[in-house]
Symmetry: C2
Subunit: 239 residues, 2 copies
DNA sequence: TGTACATCAGTGAACGCGCGTTCACTGATGTAC
DNA sequence: TGTACATCAGTGAACGCGCGTTCACTGATGTAC
């Protein structure tokens, strides 16, 4: 257990990383279901059976990639959230949305791996959940400091109110029910528009996806109740 | 070219339909990339090479399934739109949204086939576009009769306004720029929330997805500007 | 510091599998005269 | 209505391929005394 074994351990960690990197490269080229242990091994100049020293099966490699993807998008969102003025909730919302989309555009197949169709024949193990929650928790952090909207103007249905109140008393403690619901709607919209862009469903409508995305972020930010002075901020940022 | 050849042609059409049906069944079981000509043939009691009389390649079969899926969701939306009071735009929006979700829940793998991650190694030919547009056109029809919102209260960014004006003068003639943008946002939200539900990203938040979906439809309907008396209608429908 | 032993990474062959596609063929169905 | 010919659906064997996983093995790296 001295420095020498650490050397072996370090070599192991290094190769594990390289395997995942190569697997990620193949993901970009072919998609998740085409990911092949043999091809990864071939590319690394190893024999396919050697990979079993690092991952007990193909599915475990896939799981590792999924966890990495969730971690990457989560980290991107966290970083964007921390970067700016913490008091400017509108700016934080914008930054988080852009970070998620930026990561998705830079890593389209990893995005598809976790937010697209589930990989056929693959069941995600429970330990992916914590990693999936990282990015969600960033939104929850924002909702916690969002201004409560005048709910009376547009009340929730009784069933929805009951659900939202339950959440606001447990996992989402401290967030107004109306804000929870609006947050969920904005959150699904965010991933909806990113998926539509990535998967080609915006072709033939708008031409400049940046412009549409930014507008969408603005309007949904207002919808949730992220700040009022947002317009001015946005305008000055845009120029 | 008499009744007799029609018999042969009918047999051909029948088997073509059966092949697609079986393929769809396998889609449900395994996902798109696992769709196998040999398995389809096996299940139909044919030899695999016989399928080549009906589809020139596996990709062509996949294309046929994609076209059918787009047609099915499009038809569901059209029918829902036509079913109710044409003057009640809010009710039509609700009906269309529920029809899309209903179809998606009933045919999750077909939904994933067209709205999930693109199938690796497969390029959709151009003739799928017309079918993809069917469901979109239903939304466009609604936007055409939506009340223009008081745009001055929440103006579009200059770049967005330019894009939206271009659309309102060409493919989306007659629809106010602000309504176009809000329609796009609501549309991506609709598919975003359906995808999140189907792909398991709502697990751990809300429990009753029906309730959340309906609330989302209400709020996004208001957002776009589909009717003002919607609340009353909704409430009475819900009971 | 030196030696005996244990751990571990990587090899290479093999198993058993399913896939898409091609091709020459048989026999049934339809057409023309 | 009957016959010669053309069209078409479906067969069965084969090609060439890649896959995940197992297993007995070699040799290098690390550990204990």
């Amino acid at each position: 257990m001295g420095a020498v074994q650490n050397a072996r351990a370090r070599a192991r960690a290094e190769l594990t990383r390289e395997i995942k990197e190569e697997a990620r490269r193949q993901l970009e080229a072919e998609g998740a279901s085409a990911l092949s242990l043999r091809a990864v091994a071939r590319e690394l100049g190893m024999v396919s059976s050697a990979l079993y020293r690092y991952f007990p099966s193909r599915d475990d490699l896939l799981t590792a990639l999924i966890i990495d993807a969730y971690d990457a998008v989560g980290a991107a969102a966290e970083e964007a959230d921390r970067a700016g003025d913490q008091a400017d909730i509108g700016a934080r919302w914008r930054a988080v949305c852009r970070a998620v989309r930026g990561w998705a555009l830079a890593n389209p197949h990893e995005y598809a791996l976790v937010y697209g169709s589930p990989v056929p024949g693959y069941r995600a193990p429970a330990d992916t959940i914590a990693h999936a929650n990282r990015v969600t928790d960033v939104l929850v952090g924002l909702l916690r400091v969002a201004e409560a909207t005048p709910a009376a103007a547009d009340p929730l249905s009784p069933a929805m109110a009951a659900e939202a109140i339950r959440l606001s008393e447990t996992v989402l403690a401290g967030i107004a029910p109306d804000v929870i619901v609006r947050g969920l709607i904005a959150w699904t919209q965010l991933f909806g528009i990113i998926s539509f862009e990535l998967f080609g469903h915006l072709v033939g409508s708008v031409e400049d996806y940046d412009v549409l995305f930014n507008e969408s972020v603005e309007k949904m930010g207002t919808f949730v109740g992220f700040g009022a002075a947002r317009r001015g901020v946005t305008r000055s940022r845009r120029r």
